[in-house]
Amino acid sequence: MNATAGTTTRPFSPTPAGPAAPSLLRTSVSRARLDLVELLRDREATFFVLAFPVMLLVLFGSIFRETISGTGVEASQVMASGIIASGIMSVSFVSLAISIAYERDLGVLLRYRATPMPPAAYFLGKTLFVLVTAVAETVVLLAVAVTLYDLDLPSTPDRWAMFAAVFLLGTASGSVLGVAVSSVPKNAKNANAIVQAPFIFLQFISGVYLLFSDVPPVLQQVAALFPLKWMTQGLRSVFLPDSWQVMEPAGSWERPLVLVVLAAWTVGGLVLCRMTFRWSRSR
């Protein structure tokens, strides 16, 4: 019946004896590696996600050099703390929201869903990917700020601990919110705009490009609803001298509150992910 005549079929190589399933760790690392290679080869994504915050730091930091009276702190140092926070948000929230929206629209998620890969490996891979890019981004921004704007590295173990906590909780809350928001764009084409627009707005009202004390009170209240404001405040408490505390809304660093809000966003974001995550773009 089949048109085999005239064609010779070569057999495939035989099946090897059954080894164990690939480990979750190995699969997750493989996913993360693939994401990293893709990011680094995609110039547009590399620019927007990784290089853009560095450029803004150089630009804004060199414009605002005056010392804020009564604090002994230079505006560029305040800005550096804020831009490091927004850099963390960029490689977690923005990067995941856009890349997962793409992967969903292009059917990549469904391809994985149809393989034996455990779904946990996908999310663990994304976590590793975000952690690697967040560490790289933070190190670069910190290096620029320390060299160009005399930003001091944390001076006490307490401050280092706060730095680590804000970094981890900021990355975690940004990531889970990114995964949740990735379900909003109807297709990959809209993803960039839908994700970037609110992020840029948040940056302006959360003390990244403007001093938070210069933001109108109503917008300060809006900013306080989202994690970025708390991340910038947390990092100011890490990098600026205690004399800056008078400039904070509460007149103090509010370190415990910063951590509580970021942890709450992480938990809330996780719940949101569970409710909204879809492997395919339709139905």
Binding site: M1, N2, A3, T4, T7, T8, T9, R10, P11, F12, S13, T15, P16, G18, P19, A20, A21, P22, R26, T27, S30, R31, L34, V37, E38, R41, D42, Y102, E103, D105, L106, G107, V108, L110, R111, Y112, R113, A114, T115, P116, M117, P118, W279, S280, R281, S282, R283
Partner: protein, 306 residues
């Protein structure tokens, strides 16, 4: 042991209904029965929007059904676990993903998701991408991307392989090459379910074809006798020196040719004998079921770009 058994499968999509608009219900699959034996190659034919893709996606375990009994490799695909996914391969429609990675990187990555993957370079070579192994996927032609989809479908050494229009964008040589690959997979015992718009492909590859129209299977059989093809009248054509080109349909074409041979005393000028092609039978079947006006836009495969 059958690889797939389907009884009374139904799926209705509801869309719209928000913002005051009327909601619409589309019965994509309206009661399909289908059995695919282990090692068999079955082709599903049907116009776009007939319910092929929905049916296949339910069998692949990536879409939920409304009602009906479905067993694929012994379990309900709605309960698919990693062990089952290990045994099932899917050749997806091209998605345009992984543009910045190379063929080998992506095949190796997917191979790493399975217990017993085929050797990466062997898969790349067998789908005809040996010369393109280190090329970025974004630089491949449409047909070459399609071959990558085939590679990702077979790299896990599946027992059951779903192929969704696998040769779209292939040139004739690439299509022949792909057929040879399918034969090699069959020789290994792989069961295959194929959807295609190329009737000659179904004829070359499938042991059995099923025609789906408007959510129902309207005909099923071997490619040779689908829709009574084997019993249908043949067409005998020849050049008559006086009357010119002659066309006669005949239930007994051998007798017709014998008579002609006797009349011409040997060679019949311009003699041709045709049975209806699979395509003729297919189009007539669709006509009979009023399905030649197809095209519902919403039966696009969920894995593909619209």
């Amino acid at each position: 042991m059958d690889a797939i058994t389907v009884r009374g499968l139904r799926k209705t999509y509801t869309s719209g209904g928000r913002r005051g608009g009327a909601s619409s219900r589309v019965e994509a699959v309206r009661g399909i029965d289908l059995v695919v034996g282990a090692g068999e190659i079955v082709a599903l034919l049907g116009p776009n929007g007939a319910g092929k893709t929905t049916t296949v996606e339910i069998l692949e375990g990536v879409r939920r059904r409304d009602t009906g009994d479905v067993q694929v490799l012994g379990i309900d695909p709605a309960d698919a676990d990693a062990h089952w996914r290990e045994r099932v391969g899917i050749v997806w429609q091209t998605t345009g993903a992984f543009d910045d990675l190379t063929v080998r990187e992506v095949v190796r990555h997917f191979a790493g998701l399975y217990r017993r993957p085929r050797p990466v370079d062997e898969v790349i070579e067998r789908v005809g991408l040996a010369g393109k192994a280190d090329e970025r996927i974004g630089r491949l032609s449409g047909g070459q991307r399609r071959r990558l989809d085939v590679a990702l479908g077979i790299v896990g050494r599946p027992e059951l392989l779903f192929l969704d229009e696998p040769t779209t964008g292939f040139d004739p040589a690439a299509r022949r090459h792909f057929w040879e690959l399918v034969h090699a997979l069959r020789d290994e015992g792989t069961t295959m379910v194929l959807t295609t718009h190329y009737l000659e492909e179904a004829e070359a590859l499938a042991d059995r074809v099923a025609v789906i129209s408007r959510g129902l299977i309207v005909a099923e059989g071997t490619p040779a006798d689908l829709g009574g093809r084997a019993q249908q009248h043949a067409t005998v054509v020849w050049d008559d020196p006086v009357e010119g080109r002659r066309v006669v349909t005949s239930a007994t074409p051998t007798a017709t040719v014998r008579d002609l041979a006797a009349r011409f005393g040997g060679e019949v000028p311009g003699l041709e004998v045709h049975r209806p092609t699979l395509e003729d039978v297919y189009l007539r079947l669709l006509d009979d079921h009023g399905a030649t006006q197809p095209a519902r836009a919403d039966d696009q495969p969920i894995g593909a770009r619209s």
